[in-house]
Symmetry: C2
């Protein structure tokens, strides 16, 4: 399986072909180095002067020639096979490679006409790279052909698989840098081959690029014996091919031949599965490409080796402006690509350079899969109202919200069999979305046993015990123009905080790029949330993802806390229709009271916030106190508190406000959903105490409302990081969010309530002691808690 074992392939490139491949590669390398260094004199028409050099040298040369090498050879594959292919560059620092190739094949100038396909454009291309007002140094959203920036490493391969799902004709070539290969998410992503259906999905062609070094260190995969390396990838279920060397002429042949062989294998695997039926997991090919870091760059600088070492990671010649020797080395290096052979008098690539580049949408820089909005079809959505639970009187019957939602999702899956998936770390049933299994299975391409439950290669539910894979697959799927939902235990969504951050950053940038068409939003359903992880304990109790979410650009972010089944249906429908956002829905799977009939739920969710007259005692008048709530458990406790107040302090005018759309709390200057100050004041008053029962950490509510008039009167209860394995009601008591404590909070904050209120306060304190004692004796919550309904 090493390169030496590979006999010559029948379509091995001719000498002429090798010359063309090399010309293209040289052109891409020249354009890449030019971006890092040149402010002017793009074609080296005159001897290089310090004034031609950028004052600040930025960019990563080390990985770039390898990226260009692969790009050149994949172009040949596309041309010779008319292959539909996109290119994911894990080493996203190699931004110059992506930009160089997009410009070479003309896409760049089509997208950005000011960077024209000639010498003037080339000069602009060079100057703008990593330059203020120009383009970023990475394979960013600004780069045509990219769905993967790769600034944060770890997600190249999982994005590639996400892009390949339900794209049977697509091959996703994915360069995995050997630095990135050390990360956890990447190490797990190799197992994605157990989830790829050779019939309905496309293929991923991983190319592990061993250039040996990360920033200052060798990499693990480059420093283990080849025997171990091959065993590792055979163990991951691949058929590895090694292409190793540093002589371009030899390497062009090896790479072309290996790619021909590998593409034959992919074609055969797919044909066998599609014609002969899926007969188990194929052994997909992958390539291990071993080339020197900074290949073709300066071999030695200041007496120390550079090419092939970590010293070529970024800018191999750092002192070009000041150091004539470096300047001379740079000029020799740039001229080594013989630009005069590659570009014509106008600066445009000569035909030989373009001989093997694809045309039109076959260009990887112009492939519509890399601009998924172009391909996006809206979901066929059933009417969510049809799934409503009947509610004759608010808060008197129970339902499991996620179970109700499951029926809607089942029908979404059925109506959209090729562009909607649900991801989750083995929690779809645990989160009670079971109904989906009436129409589909869990994606599974490994071995099966008779005792297994709903497994199939074509399943639409993807479960793997890795939040990284769930998130990454979904991102890749969305970025290529499809739809989906990620359901997850609330606490463990923190595992992908950083992936969320990066996706939000990507969306923020794309919104300013008109040529990037809107894609479906990334929808999170966080169930098994903090208040109902009483059985799993403290490690499973963390509502802090919302705080991470709130730091991203407001136009990207939505947070919904539907308190019952019908509001969950209404909110989810909106999320599935939205574009270019990240929607976070927090909803419970345990039975909760059904609060609103569907018509009311629709109105309430459309408003995002509202007064519940039925639960309050203010009767349209100015209240004495506002009880606000967001989240299912806090809403339950607030209603129970309102009931206690009504019974014990009937003169007190209590207003109950429920918040579904958390963003409504912010000023409209901060978020497009924000209430105006008069709207906010009309709900919350400007001078009455507000007791806010919140699902998450209480500070978040203060953060959202600190500019509001009534903020000084706001008292928030939420999760204060207290918990263990106990009962649900003990959880709210441990965090002072329980109904009794809310009543005490009201009594402590409404002035002039008199002696009777003092007695009521003592009664509530006694109730807390009594309930805790009951729980500790019986091991469960008392019936007056678990069976409490609104007393009509």
């Amino acid at each position: 399986m090493t390169d030496t074992a590979v006999p010559v392939h029948p379509t091995a490139p001719t000498d002429a072909e090798v010359r063309l491949l090399d010309a293209h590669w040289r052109a891409a390398n020249y354009l890449s180095a030019g971006q890092i260094y040149l402010l002017d004199n793009p074609l080296l028409r005159e001897p290089l002067q310090p004034g031609h050099i950028k004052p600040r040298l930025l960019g990563h040369w080390g990985t770039t020639p390898g990226l260009n090498f692969c790009y050149t050879h994949l172009n040949r594959v596309i041309r010779t096979r008319d292959q539909n292919m996109i290119y994911i560059m894990g080493p996203g620092h190699g931004g110059p490679a992506a930009v160089a190739n997009a410009w070479l094949e003309g896409t760049y100038s089509e997208v950005y006409p000011e960077v024209s396909w000639d010498e003037t454009g080339m000069a602009r291309l060079f100057r703008q790279f990593s330059f203020p007002g120009g383009v970023p140094s990475h394979v960013a959203p600004e780069t045509p052909g990219s769905i993967h920036e790769g600034g944060e490493l770890g997600y190249a391969l999982v994005h590639a698989f996400g892009a390949a799902f339900d794209n049977p004709d697509l091959v996703v070539a994915c360069i995995v840098g050997d630095g990135e290969a050390e990360t956890g998410p990447l190490a797990a992503a190799w197992h994605s081959n157990k989830f790829l259906d050779p019939v309905r999905d496309g293929a991923v062609l991983p190319i592990l690029h061993l250039n040996g070094y990360k920033i200052a260190n060798p990499t693990v995969p480059a420093r283990i014996p080849e025997r171990e390396l091959l065993a590792l990838f055979e163990g991951y279920g691949y058929r590895p091919y090694v292409v190793a060397g540093d002589d371009p002429a030899v390497m062009h042949r090896k790479m072309a031949e290996t790619l021909d062989r590998v593409m034959d294998e992919i074609t055969a695997i797919q044909r066998n599965a599609r014609e002969g039926g899926n007969k188990g997991r194929p052994r997909w090919p992958m390539i291990i490409l071993r080339t020197p870091k900074g290949w073709t760059g300066p071999k030695e600088v200041d007496g120390v080796p550079v090419e092939g070492t970590w010293r070529s990671h970024q800018v191999p010649l750092p002192g070009v402006r000041e150091n004539p020797e470096h300047l001379a080395l740079l000029e020799r290096w740039l001229r080594s690509y013989r630009p005069w052979e590659l570009f014509d008098g106008t600066g445009r690539p000569v035909p030989q350079v373009l001989a093997q580049t694809p045309r039109g949408e076959r260009r990887m820089s112009a492939n519509p899969h890399a601009n998924g909005g172009l391909l996006l079809r809206p979901l066929r959505l059933p009417d969510f109202r049809d799934y409503a639970v009947p509610v004759d009187r608010p808060a008197t019957t129970f339902a499991e919200p996620t179970r109700v939602l499951g029926a809607l999702l089942r029908d979404v899956i059925a109506a959209n069999p090729d562009n909607f998936r649900i991801m989750g770390p083995d929690e779809t049933a645990s989160n009670r979305l079971n109904a989906v299994f009436e129409v589909t299975d869990r994606t599974w391409q490994a071995e099966r046993l008779p005792t297994d439950d709903h497994l199939a290669p074509s399943g639409r539910v993807m479960e793997v015990l890795s939040e990284h894979l769930c998130q990454g697959w979904l991102e890749g799927y969305l970025l290529t123009g499809r739809h989906g939902l990620f359901n997850c235990y609330e606490a463990f969504i923190h595992i992908v905080d950083s992936m969320f951050n990066q996706h939000a950053k990507w969306l923020k940038v794309t919104r300013a790029l008109p040529w990037r068409r809107p894609i479906a939003s990334l929808n999170y359903l966080l169930s098994s949330h903090v208040w109902r992880q009483d059985h799993n304990g403290f490690t499973h109790q963390d509502p802090g993802f919302l705080d991470v979410v709130m730091n991203k650009k407001p136009e990207i972010i939505r947070v919904y806390l539907p308190p019952d089944a019908n509001t969950l249906l209404a909110v989810t429908d909106g999320c599935l229709r939205s574009r270019d956002c990240i929607n976070v829905i927090v909803a419970g799977k345990q039975p909760v009271l059904n609060l609103l009939p569907m018509d009311d739920a629709v109105v309430h969710c459309a408003r995002g916030i509202g007064i519940w007259e039925w639960a309050g005692t203010d009767a349209g008048a100015e209240p004495d106190v506002v009880l606000a709530c967001a989240g299912d458990v806090p809403t339950l406790e607030t209603l129970a508190a309102a009931d206690l107040l009504r019974r014990h302090l009937p003169q007190l005018r209590v207003r109950v406000v429920n918040v579904v759309d958390l963003m409504r709390l912010q000023p409209p200057t901060e978020h497009p959903h924000g209430l105006t100050d008069p709207e906010f004041d009309a709900l919350f008053t400007t001078d009455k105490p507000i007791i806010f029962a919140f699902h998450g950490y209480p500070y978040l509510i203060h953060r959202l409302t600190y500019r509001r008039h009534g903020h000084g009167n706001l008292h928030v209860r939420g999760y204060k990081e207290e918990g263990t394995t106990t009962t649900p009601f003990d959880m709210v008591m441990m965090n002072d969010l329980d109904r009794f404590h809310l009543v005490m909070d009201v009594i402590d904050r409404v002035p002039g309530l008199g002696v009777r209120a003092g007695h009521v306060r003592q009664l509530m304190a006694d109730e807390r002691i009594r309930h805790r004692a009951y729980t500790r004796e019986h091991g469960e919550d008392p019936a007056d808690i678990t069976e409490w309904v609104w007393p009509h």
Copy 2:
């Protein structure tokens, strides 16, 4: 290498030994099932009644018998070899196993005397499990012998390696569940063998426990051919041994023999390396243990198979209280362990059960390595003042703070050669801590080349491109009583948000357990921060980790923003001395102005916040405006703004307040470092505008100060999620944090400044335009920015 290939080992257990092993295993299983089910009747002295059963059945049976099986057999290894060993249970849900074994060997009753080593104690043991007021369901801090809760999956193996570093006599047995094996961090952690020194470190014995299922799904490693599985672990560099089956009698023999063989190998590897010198990376053994999920539990319930399927994941008989058939099945199941053979009349384990359990500190539940504070030696710390940069006049010379810190860390390493390590994802040199390489190397046990830089098996600097591994190694190292520091790019520390959360939760719980002795704090040095990732672009710009940190329990959390080299030295010294905390230091690596002479720096850091009279114009009087700042770049911009104000509006009395310890801003009721309100008011006034230039997202400052008197006057500038590849000064301008904008903010907020202020404001706006234009033309910041110093 499969079990069939293994000949009988000379120390294979006798039949009598097997009977003893089985007795111990049955006892542990009985005690585990008892915890899940029994409220009373612990020894089944009377027929089982519904009243003996807990009302809420919680716990995870599925993984438990396998954990007990390993524990039993590891006990034999410890006894026969007098081996120093701790046990990490990746499947932390199997809490009953850890508790059962700790009680069996007497540790539990030593730690918790009320849970005595007799029938009364057994009844308490059963009742308290997952019971309100009792103990958690997982292998939590409350569990003796645990350093790994395992509630969030992924970190078992990395913790195991962290524990093994610098503990040459210790073997860390680590059970990796096959569910956990799907996670990214675990997949990467196998490569930790490239960082383990057989001479100076101990050994890790991974036992991959394939019970086949996670919650509702099969697992990937259990459903690939054995040939792939073996290749995978050979590829990871291990020598895998398979122990598979379901007949206890056979399995006891296989496991005992395999463990003997594996322990012989570990001993031989260590002896060879220690006597013959480290001759390269050994092939450490590991075990693949394949047993049925819920082994020895009910085989079939309600007509469907349970043992060996996902149905035994949690409680295999759910309806015991209501369903007489389930009750009968439970009784049969419990009696199948023959408790009357295992416990004497007082309920204490009979001698046969304890025949193979270790004694004293050799008990895994009582090993001091699992209570690292017992072993903690304070660091030998040089006087940090000796590393100070001289500062004759504030803010007139430059230094790179992390480079200065590097010298201190170098000497910490030299003085503590066996209990201090630095972790980082290949960024120690990039973060300019290079001085450490004068005394040590990077830990590296893979192949080396002549061009490599400072690699050695015994290096004290651990670099791998995985924040998960860095964090996990360090956690394991600290939890076993050592010290360390994790240096990381600020944006990418979000990758370990969830690991941070879990460690903070662990510390919070241990603080309430007097028998857990304090351990060294987890110290983060976040360099390459948001304001100086101008060259890497938007993906590298994220200061939001601080927001995650702030959600944890205040007594655990410290956040420091030293603005220069001397303050960084002072702060780091304090962090290295602290215990049971998580300290976050944000400090730049780029040249910044030296602000304070060391004596002043010490005082300033001790106070954590203070007025800088030399920078202000309030001269001890009440100011017109307060310029507050936290973080190196915001401090620089604030000083420059103060200078502009002094020159352009000399009558304005400006006070400059710098914050090093962010926690000082909170009320003392919220954080032990919090300023009292009078202290806060004395610094910030109650009625003057405060322009706060902050390192991170501005909301954080509002969140910390919203209850303060002056909060209504507080205006915060910080990172508002704007950025790209550009210059450093353009970064601050994009986020309105620049000196000119701060002056404009002052003018907008101080009333009655008159016409002249309007002109100054226009001048500042013009400066912004001029600077941006300069940057876009020249590609770098103008000299009046980069060379600005305080004008004395």
